[in-house]
C-alpha cells in the first residue's frame, strides 16, 4: 500500500469513528470494507477488516461476535452479488445497503436474544433505514475520492 493510500484509509477510519459518534447504531466503516475489496489487495482488506472489527466490537455493548457476523455476511453478500452485478455499480451498492439494513435489524434481534437482553425495536428499525441510505451514498463518495488519489489514475 502506498503512503497516500495508507493516509486515505487512516483518514477514512478516523472520520468513520467520528461520524459514528454523531449517528449511533450506523456503521460508517462498512462501505470502506467493500471499497477495499474492490480496490485493494486481499491482505490490505484483511488488515483493515480486523482493525475495524475490533473498533466496532470494542465500542459496542453486545458480546464479541456480532460484528464478526455482520462483516462476514457483508463480504458474503458482496461476493454473491458480484456474480450477478457489476461490482462497482451504484445500483448494486443500493441493494447491498438495503440488505445491510435488513441484516442490522435481524442481527440485533438475534444477538440480543442470545444474550437474554432487549433492544428497542423501533430505534433499531430507524437505524436500519439510516444504514440502508448511508451505505451507498458513503460508498459513492469514498469511491470517487479513492479514484482521485494521485496514483489511482482510473476513470470513474
Amino acid at each position: 500500500m502506498t503512503g497516500r493510500r495508507a493516509a486515505f484509509w487512516t483518514v477514512f477510519t478516523l472520520a468513520g469513528m467520528w461520524l459514528q459518534s454523531f449517528l449511533p447504531g450506523v456503521d460508517f466503516l462498512a462501505p470502506g470494507l467493500i471499497l477495499s475489496l474492490q480496490e485493494e489487495k486481499l491482505r490490505t482488506t484483511v488488515i483493515l477488516g480486523v482493525i475495524w472489527l475490533f473498533i466496532q466490537e470494542g465500542t459496542g455493548s453486545l458480546a464479541f461476535g456480532t460484528v464478526v457476523l455482520w462483516y462476514a455476511l457483508l463480504v458474503g453478500l458482496f461476493f454473491f452479488g458480484h456474480w450477478l452485478f457489476e461490482a462497482r455499480n451504484f445500483l448494486f451498492m443500493m441493494i447491498l445497503g438495503a440488505c445491510l439494513g435488513v441484516l442490522h435489524f435481524g442481527l440485533m434481534d438475534v444477538m440480543t436474544q442470545l444474550q437474554d437482553w432487549r433492544a428497542a425495536p423501533g430505534r433499531v428499525l430507524v437505524e436500519s433505514i439510516v444504514q440502508a441510505v448511508v451505505f451507498p451514498v458513503e460508498w459513492g463518495l469514498i469511491y470517487i475520492i479513492h479514484n482521485h488519489l494521485p496514483q489511482n489514475g482510473q476513470n470513474i
Partner: protein, 310 residues
C-alpha cells in the same frame, strides 16, 4: 464453530476484554482530542464567521462586538462548567465510598451499540471496573458495562436491561425499577395493590443488588394506576437526569480497605480464616465486583459474564 467460540466468550469474556482494550481504547484516543478541536472550531465560528455581516457595516464595531462576544461565550462556558463541576463536587459519596469525576466523550457508537450506553474517559487505570456505579448531581445514571485502560462504557438506568431494586422515600414501597428505552418512562415492577406509593415520590436505591450504595435517588414516580386483573400496581417513573445533557458524571468506588497496621491496632475478636481461604471461588463470588481491586485476589477472580449482577 462460531457458536462454540461465541458461547466460550460469553462464559469467559476473554475476547470481549481484548476488544475493549483495543477498539474502545483506540476510540477514546481518537474522540478526546477531537472534542478539543471541535470546541476550538465552535469558538472560532462564534468569534469570526458569524459576524461577517457586521464587519461589512462597521469594522470597528465588529471587532468590539466580536471581542465582547468571545468573552461572553467564554464566560458563559466557564460559568456553565463551574456550575456542573460544583454540582458534581456536591455529590456526597456514601460512607466507605469515594467519588471520582469523569467526562462523557460519546454516546452510543457503531452498529454493535444495541443498548442505551455512553462512553466516559476513565477506565481500569482509574480503578474503574465492571458494575462501578455512575451518578450525576441529580441521581443515579447507570453502571459500567465494560472498561478498557482509559475508557469505559456505561449502561444507563433507562435501558430496558437495567433492573434495579428501589424503595420509595415516603411510603417505603419496594419494587424493581426497569428502564424502557430512551425518552420512555421507567416502570416500577412488582408493587402490590395495597402499596401507598404516590406520584412525586422519589425512588432511591436499596443496595440489595450489591452494586449501588443504599439511598441514592434514582427516579420520580409520575403515574400510579391499576390495570385489569393484574396483581400489581402499574407505576411509571421518570429518571432524574436528562441523558441528552450529560457532560460530566461521577464514579462511585468503594474506599480502600484499612491499612494492615490499622487492622492490627484493632482488637481481634473474630475467628481468623485459614490462609488462602479468600482465594476460593465461592468466597470471591460472595464478595462481588464492587470490592476494591486491592481486596480481590487477581489471579483467582472468576471472569463474570457481562451484564451479570442486575
Amino acid at each position: 464453530m462460531y457458536l462454540g467460540v461465541f458461547t466460550w466468550n460469553i462464559r469467559t469474556g476473554y475476547v470481549d476484554t481484548l476488544a475493549s482494550h483495543t477498539g474502545l481504547e483506540l476510540t477514546r484516543w481518537v474522540l478526546t482530542p477531537g472534542r478539543w478541536v471541535w470546541t476550538r472550531l465552535s469558538s472560532f465560528w462564534e468569534r469570526y464567521v458569524y459576524f461577517v455581516g457586521v464587519r461589512q457595516e462597521n469594522e470597528t464595531l465588529r471587532e468590539d462586538l466580536a471581542r465582547a462576544n468571545e468573552e461572553l461565550v467564554g464566560a458563559r462556558e466557564q460559568a456553565s462548567l463551574a456550575k456542573r463541576l460544583t454540582d458534581l463536587l456536591l455529590i456526597a459519596p456514601p460512607p466507605q465510598w469515594t467519588r471520582e469525576a469523569s467526562r462523557v466523550i460519546a454516546h452510543r457508537l457503531g452498529p454493535n451499540a444495541a443498548l442505551e450506553t455512553f462512553v466516559i474517559d476513565k477506565g481500569r487505570r482509574s480503578d474503574v471496573d465492571v458494575n462501578t456505579p455512575v451518578v450525576a448531581p441529580e441521581g443515579v445514571v447507570g453502571r459500567v458495562l465494560r472498561a478498557s485502560m482509559n475508557a469505559a462504557t456505561v449502561l444507563m438506568v433507562t435501558d430496558p436491561n437495567s433492573k434495579i431494586p428501589v424503595v420509595s422515600q415516603k411510603s417505603r414501597t419496594q419494587g424493581i425499577l426497569v428502564g424502557r428505552g430512551s425518552g420512555q418512562p421507567m416502570m416500577l415492577q412488582y408493587v402490590s395493590l395495597s402499596a401507598q406509593v404516590e406520584p412525586g415520590e422519589i425512588l432511591v436505591t436499596t443496595g440489595l443488588e450489591g452494586i449501588f450504595p443504599q439511598g441514592l435517588p434514582l427516579a420520580t414516580v409520575t403515574n400510579v394506576n391499576r390495570e385489569g386483573a393484574s396483581l400489581f400496581l402499574n407505576v411509571s417513573a421518570q429518571a432524574l437526569f436528562d441523558p441528552k445533557r450529560l457532560e460530566e458524571v461521577a464514579l462511585l468506588k468503594k474506599a480502600p480497605p484499612p491499612k494492615p497496621e490499622e487492622e492490627e491496632a484493632l482488637p481481634d475478636t473474630s475467628t481468623k480464616r485459614p490462609k488462602g481461604a479468600a482465594d476460593r471461588k465461592g468466597e470471591v463470588k460472595k464478595r462481588g465486583r464492587n470490592e476494591p481491586p486491592e481486596a480481590r485476589p487477581q489471579e483467582s477472580t472468576p471472569k463474570k459474564k457481562r451484564g451479570e449482577g442486575q
